[in-house]
Amino acid sequence: MTVTSDFPGLLIYWVVIVLMMIGFYIVISQNNMVKKIVGLNVFQVSVFLLYITMGKVKGGTAPILADGFEVYSNPLPHVLILTAIVVGVATTSLGLALVVRIMDSYGTIEDDEIQALEDDT
């Protein structure tokens, strides 16, 4: 069974790379810090997708022992990504908390405006 001959083929790698580059572009091109965090999350989701699809076994079911099923998907990448999702939520909330603090002390969350304020002083 060759992977490349089936319909989805290597499509998922393209999806992952496109999503990753979209996220990366948002992070470097946007001045708004909330948008930067959204970009980081898109980047993160691309990595999640890569790992989750890696765990898929053709014809496999959920890895729960039951009669009549012999092929199971690999649960290890899924568990790894479960942890990564939790870490992602934690980093997102930490980033948003930092944005809130920056808003409190600068009155703006635009990167260039903060830079201008810094240059003035």
Binding site: I64, L82, I85, V86, V89, S93, L96, A97, V100
Partner: protein, 142 residues
């Protein structure tokens, strides 16, 4: 934002109708995690989603009356304590840390009990963490 939300009768009625089912589904995902897809992380997030929906519709102050700060704060540690408590209990009963087999006379029963308790701990902590994070952000300007 909240006063505007409170005027939306459809949203208020529909969410009031939905919240019990969201909480029930969270409990199903939590306790069915042994036999099917599910577990503490997912159940905690779904359970928290019910409270977050309530906070979105009725405002943060009313949510804090439903679930005060000291409740979420203590639940955060209760979950971690439950998880590590199971580990310490297995140590005291003669197994390795988190070796569930020693929890009951029959090893498989012990494993069932251990996973159930550990997942309950995870669910409680994830639920209170999600609600705390949301309310901490949403309650900024009040």
């Amino acid at each position: 934002m909240n006063t505007r939300m409170q005027q939306k009768v459809v949203l208020r009625v529909v969410s009031k109708f939905l919240i019990p089912f969201i909480l029930l589904f969270a409990l199903y995902v939590q306790w069915h995690g042994d036999f099917g897809p599910g577990g503490g992380f997912q159940a905690g997030v779904i359970f928290a989603a019910g409270f977050i929906l309530y906070a979105l519709i009725y405002g943060v102050e009313r949510t804090r009356q439903v679930i005060p700060a000291w409740v979420t704060r203590s639940l955060l540690s209760v979950g971690v304590l439950l998880y590590s408590g199971v580990g310490v209990a297995t140590l005291l009963m003669g197994g390795e840390f988190l070796n569930y087999s020693v929890l009951a006379h029959v090893p498989t029963h012990g494993q069932h009990l251990g996973v159930l308790l550990v997942e309950a701990g995870v669910g409680i902590t994830v639920f209170s963490a999600m609600t705390t994070i949301f309310i901490a952000f949403a309650g900024q300007d009040s």
